[in-house]
């Protein structure tokens, strides 16, 4: 943490960057912070409560952030994949961003209530993490903490859903998605949702009814995860942002697994690796095509 503060202070003092996007202590736990002065660098913290994916703030259309000037951003391995994704998709220039990558030993599922990392409290997204030491960085900081315990809850949920009949799965999702209030917080929190105009807002033709009906909610979430196929970095910010606690991370992870199974692609923090949708192989799987 001291290393992080020191680097941030130096970057701000030298004028290399105008703002450091990191985490600070807030009234209700750790929150995102925008540090613009070197003397404030001591506010920065990094621990297992830092669940937010700060790459979201690099969206070039977030004017409140871009107006602060050149940014340095604190990322975990999973977040670094989002930065890589934005570079890959030409939303960011690599040289316009300073990446402060933290070595990570897992984060909490509920930082408001839990403190210790156990198999129950560790975030389900940390299960099987291969990015504890990010490869995309300008400064790689911190000691590598021990490997976190594994929370298999989400993987078990996916396996349980796959065992159900189509009818049972459908009623499960109907039950869940009928709670969606269409606030689109999942989209706003997502670092990879940066379209100037979202399909959900297009009205000519209107692809997705903007009111919160089951049909429209199903269409919205189906479209959202489809647009994330091969792009999702599995940071689960969609699920964390959801006021209705929809299991959006389950959908996201299922699609990510399908992408891996079919195209042998895992979300990568190397911006030069092409995303799987947009390229093809002549011998791609087509067992489902007649």
């Amino acid at each position: 943490m001291n290393e992080l503060r020191e680097v941030a202070r130096k970057l701000l003092a030298e004028g290399t960057v105008n703002v450091v996007i990191g985490y600070e202590e807030g009234p209700r736990g750790v929150r995102p912070a925008f540090i613009t002065a070197a003397e404030q660098a001591d506010k920065l913290v990094f621990d297992t409560r830092c669940v937010q994916n700060l790459a979201t703030y690099l969206n070039p259309r977030r004017k409140q952030v871009t107006q602060l000037g050149k940014a340095a951003v604190v990322v975990k391995g999973c977040d670094a994949r989002a930065v890589a994704g934005m570079i890959r998709e030409k939303q960011l220039e690599r040289e316009n961003i300073v990446i402060l990558a933290m070595r990570c030993g897992g984060v909490l599922q509920n930082p408001e209530t839990d403190t210790e990392l156990t198999a129950e409290t560790v975030s389900v997204r940390c299960a099987g993490c291969t990015a504890r030491e990010p490869k995309l960085f300008d400064h790689l900081l911190g000691e590598l903490p021990p490997e976190p315990p594994v929370n298999r809850q989400r993987l078990e949920q996916i396996a349980a859903l796959e065992k159900m009949s189509p009818a049972e799965r459908r009623s499960y999702w109907n039950e869940q998605l009928s709670r969606c209030i269409r606030c689109h917080a999942c989209r706003e929190a997502c670092p990879m949702c940066f379209c100037v105009k979202c399909t959900a807002e297009k009205s000519q033709p209107q692809w997705i009814d903007s009111s919160s009906t089951l049909q429209a909610n199903r269409a919205w979430q189906t479209m959202r995860v489809l647009h994330q196929a091969g792009r999702c970095v599995d940071c689960m910010e969609c699920e964390r942002a959801c006021p209705e606690h929809l299991p959006l991370g389950v959908l996201a992870r299922y699609v990510a697994d399908a992408v891996e199974r079919r195209f042998d692609y895992k979300a990568s923090d190397d911006p030069t690796v092409p995303a799987p949708i947009g390229v093809y192989k002549t011998d791609d799987d087509e067992e489902f095509i007649r």
Binding site: R170, A219, T222, V225, G278, F288, I289
Partner: protein, 151 residues
């Protein structure tokens, strides 16, 4: 023969199936099936598109939302695309869509993906008849939904 429908006469349910087909292969193949007078179930509404890669997954979602009971998506065999690579890209997208629909509880029997070339009138006939038969067996989407969701 008269087609008089009197008030109160409910026509028996018959599935509505939407087919998104590419202009160059499947549409021509379907045309061949027609001119060859092959017998096909009359449940399929054909929508012609330039290429199978023009089929946005939203088309399929929307079709179900608006009351379709089944969907057929068909284009040129891989390697035969009029635009060289369109169906390779389409195949990648469809494979994920196929898996996701399955995971969200849309019966895979309601969605048929097929490659039908311009000379395969017979195959088009099979695709149409088989899809219709499968969807008939599953019943209407709306009824399935009321029963607790068996789309």
């Amino acid at each position: 023969m008269t087609n008089d429908v009197r008030l109160g006469d409910e026509p028996p349910w018959s599935p509505k199936i939407v087919a998104f087909v590419c202009n160059w292969c499947t549409y021509t193949g379907a045309d061949l099936a027609g001119t060859s007078r092959l017998k096909m179930d009359p449940n399929v509404r054909v929508i012609k598109l330039p290429c199978s890669s023009r089929v946005n997954p939203l088309f399929i979602i929307k079709a179900f939302e608006r009351g379709a009971d089944g969907v057929i998506v068909s284009g040129c065999h891989t390697g035969d695309c009029h635009y060289s690579t369109g169906n390779f890209h389409a195949r990648r997208r469809f494979s994920i869509l196929h898996d996701l629909l399955h995971f969200m509880g849309v019966d895979n029997d309601r969605v048929t993906f097929a490659w039908v070339s311009a000379s395969e009138g017979n195959k088009w006939q099979e695709v149409v008849n088989e899809t219709t038969a499968r969807v008939k067996q599953l019943g209407p989407v709306a009824a399935a939904e009321e029963k607790g969701g068996a789309q």
